[in-house]
């Protein structure tokens, strides 16, 4: 899923960044189209923030090329790039009021006070803070501060909006609320946005495309549903969503023998030799559980039961190293309790495998 050349707004080409001998980023390329919201997702230290900082001009010591709107901006400093940034840490200027913070970028651009005021009030309206233009940052909650930071970043009509884990310091409820506001505003303003986060739910819920990074490289970039349902690597399969790793063995016909079943090996999976011991990667929703005995299914013992609202998650001991997790509707889960003997079956037609 790559954008057409004519639509490309941002093109990051073969970016690399080394800290001494350690490669924080290696041959990273990404194209973004106008108005698109792309999230970079990955574990700590995978290089996602490095990409964002390089694009924002905050890290000049990198290899590769950056093209925005057809212009090569690789060598230009951050103040010349016209990119709005919202940081993980609260970054409002403590000596300025909310309105002054929002107007700062416009003041730098010598925009007249009347236009500045009008623009800042429009943006504060957008982030639902028009009633607090004269408050100072220390009088605002964390969520309000991040909303002001968003308004401030948007005030300069940025070519690209860069969001560096802006919600990670907020509590869960506020985080959900603000991420939805970010998406609404991003769609309203049609601002091309790069969003860096380590929260899968956050990335999947607001993005047009999500890029999963690992060890300084982009493993896969795709729509959230494609990423979840059709992972191209074992890392993506195990990193995105919950994945059970169930021991199995590859047979001579390109199938995996797992939980008393034989299931085709996915074409995206790594190649495996006949007789090789592997870990089959199975999503909880691709498992069905029954309290009745089934010869073709694997018997197990329910060890944990977690109520998650409409769904209930069961942890089942199949005699393997880890518990296998199964999701089922809470309605159905009423019939099964901790300590019950159950049978488990895989419903997927194909599987990816990882090394043991």
């Amino acid at each position: 899923m790559s954008p057409k050349n004519s639509e490309i707004k941002v093109s990051l080409q073969n970016l690399s960044r080394h800290y001494g001998n350690v490669a924080a980023l290696h041959d990273f390329s990404l194209d973004m189209t106008t108005g698109e919201m792309v999230s970079l997702l990955g574990p700590s230290g995978c290089g996602k923030t490095t990409v964002l900082r390089i694009l924002g001009g905050l890290d000049p010591h990198h290899g590769g090329r950056i093209v925005v709107d057809g212009d090569d901006i690789t060598g230009s400093s951050s103040d010349k790039r016209n990119m709005g940034m919202v940081f993980q840490a609260y970054s409002l200027f403590p000596n300025m009021t909310v309105a002054e913070n929002v107007e700062y970028g416009l003041r730098v651009r010598k925009v007249s006070p009347e236009i500045r005021r009008k623009k800042s009030m429009e943006l504060l309206e957008m982030v639902h803070l028009s009633h607090r233009p004269d408050a100072y940052p220390n009088q605002l909650s964390g969520g309000q501060q991040q909303r002001v930071a968003l308004a401030r970043a948007l005030a300069i009509a940025p070519k690209v909006l860069l969001l560096d884990e802006p919600l990670s310091a907020l509590d869960a409820q506020v985080r959900v609320q603000i991420r939805e506001e970010i998406r609404r505003i991003q769609l309203e303003t049609e601002t091309t946005t790069l969003f860096v986060t380590h929260d899968q739910e956050e990335a999947m819920s607001v993005s047009d495309r999500v890029g999963v990074m690992n060890a300084g490289q982009l493993e896969q970039i795709d729509s959230p549903s494609a990423l979840y349902n059709k992972p191209k690597t074992a890392f993506v399969a195990s990193f995105v969503g919950v994945t059970n790793k169930i021991p199995g063995e590859v047979d001579g016909k390109g199938r995996v023998r797992v939980l008393n079943q034989k299931i085709d090996l996915s074409k995206n999976s790594r190649s495996a030799q006949a007789g090789e011991q592997v870990l089959a990667l199975v999503r909880p929703e691709n498992l069905i559980i029954s309290s009745e005995f089934d010869e073709e299914a694997q018997p197990g013992l329910v060890i944990t039961k977690s109520f998650l609202g409409p769904l209930t998650k069961l942890g089942v001991d199949l005699g393997t190293e880890n518990l296998v997790y199964v999701n089922m509707t809470s309605q159905e889960a009423r019939k099964i309790d901790v300590g019950n003997r159950v049978s488990i079956k895989i419903t997927s037609e194909e599987l990816m495998v990882a090394n043991v």
Binding site: G57, L58, S77, K80, Y90, S91, F93, V108
Partner: protein
């Protein structure tokens, strides 16, 4: 009951602290108002100060040196410590060690070494003392600024300002300086008070400032010397209170548009 004891103990501690501070000063003031031969209290010792030759010359030079030290601190130490926080984190420990050296190096060595290191045209001017005073004050000014800069998310603020299109100069003036204003004020106060009261180095270099002059003229007048000490102490306090009040008034009165204009004029 427990709260009452706690409140009472607070007052006792406060009273003890006040006594410790006020009693010696009050005694010194009382002593400075005595007359020779125990003939009651008088302001004669204070009027004696103003009758002394070179009083105004020396107090003026000390005030000028204090002001110059403050300016040098503002122009050199503030940017240096800011730069250290932004770009030189790995050298921070070394600089923290270097910053306490003026406390360790004997003033005699410092005086001779610093004098030798100065360009000739400054060596012949009393204003060279301002540079030495800045060095002597560094252990205190560095720490004050260090604490101030550590207490704010400096890097993020700078990056936020730069990403919004501001130059580094504008970022320093519009964002960093206001964010650490109290630390800068404290550093300047320390530089001013240390320069105003410095005696040893000035005396070793054979320059005469207010503290050196006080020592010289008071050798023949004990009561006068105490009056002089009180005069300089009260003078220093008044100066600090005036500076602090001026800043508070400025903070309240100066409109944001004036600040904007001055920023734009500077950049």
């Amino acid at each position: 009951m427990k709260n009452r004891i706690l409140n009472l103990s607070r007052y006792v501690i406060l009273a003890a602290g006040l006594l410790f501070f006020v009693f010696p000063v009050a005694s010194a003031i009382e002593f400075s108002l005595r007359s020779y031969g125990n003939k009651g209290h008088t302001f004669a010792n204070y009027s004696w100060i103003f009758q002394q030759e070179d009083f105004f010359t020396n107090i003026t030079i000390s005030l000028k040196l204090a002001a110059l030290s403050a300016v040098i601190t503002l122009l050199t130490v503030v940017p240096a410590v800011t730069y250290l926080h932004l770009e030189g984190q790995r050298f921070k420990r070394i600089f923290e060690f270097l910053a306490i050296l003026p406390l360790v190096v004997p003033v005699v060595s410092l005086a001779i070494g610093a004098q030798k290191a100065m360009p000739t045209f400054i060596q012949n001017s009393q204003y060279e003392l301002a540079f030495f005073y800045v060095v002597i004050a560094i252990p205190y000014t560095f720490q004050s600024l260090n604490v101030g800069l550590t207490s704010i998310p400096l890097k993020t603020l700078v990056e936020a300002s730069r990403s919004l299109g501001a130059s580094f100069g504008r970022t320093v003036i519009s964002v960093i300086v206001p964010a650490i204003r109290s630390a800068i004020n404290a550093a300047i106060f320390l530089a001013v008070t240390l320069s105003f009261g410095e005696f040893t180095l000035t005396s070793l270099l054979h320059w005469e400032t207010f503290p050196v002059w006080i020592t010289r003229v008071s050798q023949g007048n004990v009561l006068g010397s105490i009056a002089l000490s009180m005069f300089s102490l009260i003078g220093a306090w008044t100066l600090l209170i005036l500076v602090q009040s001026a800043q508070n008034v400025r903070k309240k009165k100066v409109s944001k548009s004036d600040v904007e204009e001055s920023e734009e004029a500077l950049i």
